[in-house]
């Protein structure tokens, strides 16, 4: 190839790369600024929040966090969020691991069944909420964390099963067969051999289930409501007819964000996969 042309091409390529880098960096600002702003706001006093024009440099105050974390109500909401997310995830894993393993190992239903399972996630939750409300009212579980735990388990199970099928399929069948020949039951082969082999994948499924439960709002506001408020419901509650309480609202938002930020870093790949119905790896 002509050396001159090649050099020229390199120059153009460099210029384009520089331009691409610049545009991407600009988009990063757009992505991060809103989050940065809510964090800044959470460290402002009531007076500083209502200053016009808004300030970037100010003396940070822990007023909002102090108010929240010493409030009995807010600690309750936080506890509700933690309980619903962790207990529902534990149930999802307990039910989902055996289901995913059998689907992967014995090929029951094949692709069709696993796609069908995943498609459950796409139905609008609002179409399920009336019977759920009636049912929980009937058994007196309305406004309890139990209602939310049950709903989140059912909501996250399809996706977790679908994701874990992929992981279990990656375990070579020979290992299983060898264990069975050695006198293992399928049950012990599952827990002693397969589960440890795919532990990182299972952790990803669990983390996603926690994130979905943690962020959920519709069921939380309708079935949890008054006495079983979770963080998103609490955050939305700072907007009232009379005023918007920006201080506590931003601090509560930040508290709701922190675990998500940490968890999301571990599972971003699966986050995409999960929403895409496997169309993209």
């Amino acid at each position: 190839m002509d050396t001159n042309k090649k050099n020229n091409g390199n120059f153009v390529k460099k210029l384009m790369d520089g331009g691409a880098f610049g545009l991407l960096a600009l988009y990063i600002l757009f992505c991060l600024f809103p989050i940065l702003w809510i964090i800044l706001t959470s460290f402002k006093t009531h007076a500083a929040i209502n200053t016009f024009p808004p300030q970037f440099i100010f003396i940070p105050s822990f007023e909002n966090y102090n108010t929240l974390l010493t409030s009995h109500d807010f600690i309750g909401f936080l506890t509700n969020s933690i309980i619903t997310a962790t207990v529902s995830t534990a149930l999802v894993m307990a039910l989902g691991i055996p289901a995913a393993y059998s689907l992967a190992r014995y090929g029951i239903g094949g692709h069709r069944l696993s796609d069908w399972i995943l498609s459950m996630r796409m139905f609008p939750p609002i179409a399920l909420v009336v019977p759920l409300f009636l049912m929980f009212r009937f058994v007196h579980l309305l406004q309890t964390v139990w209602a939310l735990i049950l709903v989140y388990t059912a909501m996250n199970l399809p996706f977790a099963i679908w994701l874990m099928i992929g992981f279990f399929k990656d375990v070579p069948k020979d290992i299983d067969d060898a264990a069975l020949v050695d006198g293992c039951t399928p049950w012990t082969a599952l827990w002693k051999i397969n589960v440890p082999a795919v532990a990182p994948g299972l952790a990803a499924a669990a983390i996603l289930s926690i994130i979905f439960a943690w962020n959920e709002f519709l069921f939380a506001v309708i079935l949890g409501g008054g006495t079983a408020k979770t963080l998103p419901v609490a955050v939305a509650g700072y907007v009232t007819d009379r005023a918007i309480f920006w201080g506590p609202m931003s601090a509560a938002s930040v508290i709701a964000l922190v675990p998500i930020v940490i968890f999301a870093m571990f599972v971003q790949r699966y986050l995409v996969r999960g929403l895409t119905l496997g169309a993209v790896d």
Partner: protein, 329 residues
């Protein structure tokens, strides 16, 4: 053979609790909602007197519901255009094997993990129009500082609905052929919806980028290289080779983003509420209002069923299509 049967039975037994739970949860409850929508249940305690499709007839005649449908359509179309354009652009830029690609990707994806409630709260602040007495804030202030003060406007607080003016040439033509409603606010885009789209796009365009990036990476390098050797420009490579190969990804993205936008509820609650003249109202919000504030359970169920049908129209063909392509593999 005997052992195999036993294993399979065990597998089915392991599987059934989950499958049964999921099936009841989804199909059973949808069936119940469908049934409830055909009754006279209009207070907290159930009343299963069958009334046929009365609730649906009333619903479609309801002005708020018509506005909601208009908003949903506007939201979905704008949201899809914005996410697909931004997502594809970001993916093409990132695909240039850029420095620190991983960092970019993680940051772009990050908003997606946040709840719509927090997103709504943040954007409620950023798009707060401020007031003449106190001055501008948020994005309006940014416009002011950049010397783009003329771009300032009321964002989600502006009740304007853009539509074809009835006295324009097109408007008069539409009236003459009996389609006068198309030149009225009944068919249009409300300003509040644009603000909602901005927030939702902030949240989901990184996700669209990730889909497209995976699609781009699946295109063999040799294919692009061969075209370049044949003298194709970068644009021609994109247009004739890359875009056609991304079509399945675009279809998936449309389905996934589309079903998210039809279901949207939490963003509206946190960011705008139903708005002045329902300028930011959506069917899911109306459903919640009707059912759990007004105790009109049958009517609320009817709204839920309409939403369900809209989502089904979108996803069922897609599901059939994906299963069929997988079966061919």
């Amino acid at each position: 053979m005997k052992r195999w049967n036993w294993e399979r039975t065990a597998a089915v037994l392991l599987l059934s609790p989950s499958i049964i739970l999921i099936a009841i949860f989804v199909y059973g409850f949808i069936a119940f909602t469908g049934y409830a929508s055909l009754t006279a249940w209009d207070r907290l305690d159930p009343d299963f007197t069958y009334v046929g499709f009365t609730n649906y007839v009333k619903l479609f005649a309801n002005q708020r519901f018509q506005i909601d449908l208009r908003n949903t359509v506007g939201f979905t179309v704008l949201f899809l255009i914005a996410c697909l354009t931004i997502g594809l652009t970001l993916a093409i830029l990132l695909d240039q094997r850029i420095r620190a690609e991983g960092v970019f990707r993680s940051i772009f994806l990050f908003p997606m993990a946040i709840s719509f409630i927090v997103t709504g709260v943040v954007w409620r602040w950023l798009l707060n129009p401020g007031s003449p007495e106190l001055g501008s804030t948020g994005v309006n202030l940014l416009f002011e500082k950049l010397g783009l003060g003329f771009l300032k406007w009321g964002w989600f607080t502006d009740p304007v609905v853009w539509h074809i003016p009835p006295d324009s040439g097109l408007g008069q033509l539409l009236q003459q052929i009996g389609l006068g409603f198309m030149a009225s606010p009944k068919v249009g885009l409300s300003a509040g919806v644009v603000s909602l789209v901005l927030a939702a796009t902030w949240q989901m365009s990184g996700y669209t980028m990730a889909m497209y990036l995976a699609g781009l990476r699946a295109i063999p390098d040799e294919l692009r290289e061969a075209a370049r050797v044949d003298g194709a420009s970068e644009w021609q490579v994109l247009w004739h080779i890359v875009f056609p190969m991304l079509r399945p990804i675009t279809l998936s993205a449309v389905i996934i983003l589309g079903h998210i936008s039809l279901k949207i509820y939490d963003l509206v609650v946190a960011m705008t509420g139903p708005g002045i003249g329902f300028s930011t109202d959506v069917p899911a919000y109306f459903m919640w209002d009707t059912t759990f504030r007004g105790n009109h359970f049958a009517r609320g169920s009817a709204i839920a069923m309409v939403l369900l049908v809209m989502v089904a129209v979108l996803i069922i063909p897609y599901l059939v299509w994906t299963t069929r392509t997988e079966a061919e593999l």
